[in-house]
Amino acid sequence: MPMIEREIQSGEALQVGNYEITPQAQLYRIRIPGCRAALAWNRPHAVIVRNEDGSEEVLPVRDVTREVIWSILAGGLLGTLLIMLMKRAR
């Protein structure tokens, strides 16, 4: 069994008005070797929309909160490094 397993799963298509919506989820299964523990991380990946003319559109599901949090933390780390470099240069 692999330690980290990644899978994109498609759910059942849903008919909403003239659109057919197929949800997709991204699943990570993590098994920790040496101990009997497992982690499953399931998040929405995208929504496939089929219009009545048959054309398909893929709408990715963005996790804005996570993106902003990582940006803030990266900015904080970068800011600290810059302050350290500036103080050393003086």
Partner: protein
């Protein structure tokens, strides 16, 4: 010897059952848990989506020992086994899928509290590091003086 073998068999059976439970738990994680039931409101249908993180772990153990300290002629033998496990499920809304006659769009969910907490953490880290560096410099200057 027989007791020890029985104990090991019991332990292995328990471990196998736990392993099966874990595999069932992992296979239960699928697309249905991420997308909620559609909510109809007039012409608009809303499908909530969430991120699910779940963890599970367990362990079993057994041991035995012989005490010859009190009575070396007739040592007392003791053994025991035990096990435990736990798990946690975390859920967080990520976005909502809005389907209306105008089209289908994905509206992200913005968690202001989490972002504010991250911002305060980053700010605290920056201020802390700056103060630490200033106090080190001041300490060095006073030593030189």
């Amino acid at each position: 010897m027989t007791d020890e073998t029985n104990s090991n068999e019991l332990e292995n059976t328990g471990l196998d059952r736990y392993q099966e439970t874990m595999e069932e738990f992992l296979s239960a994680a699928d697309v249905r848990v991420v997308y909620g039931e559609p909510i109809q409101h007039n012409d608009t249908t809303i499908i909530p989506t969430a991120e699910i993180l779940c963890g599970l772990g367990f362990a079993v153990g057994s041991g035995s020992g012989t005490d010859t300290g009190h009575n070396p002629d007739n040592p007392s033998v003791g053994k025991g086994s035990g096990g435990g496990g736990g798990g946690r499920i975390l859920s967080r809304p990520v976005a909502v899928v809005v389907a209306s006659p105008e089209g289908v769009r994905v509206e992200p969910v913005f968690d202001v509290t989490k972002v504010a907490l991250a911002g305060l953490t980053a700010l605290g880290f920056m201020v802390g590091m700056t103060f630490r560096m200033s106090s080190k410099r001041r300490a060095l200057t006073s030593v030189e003086d």
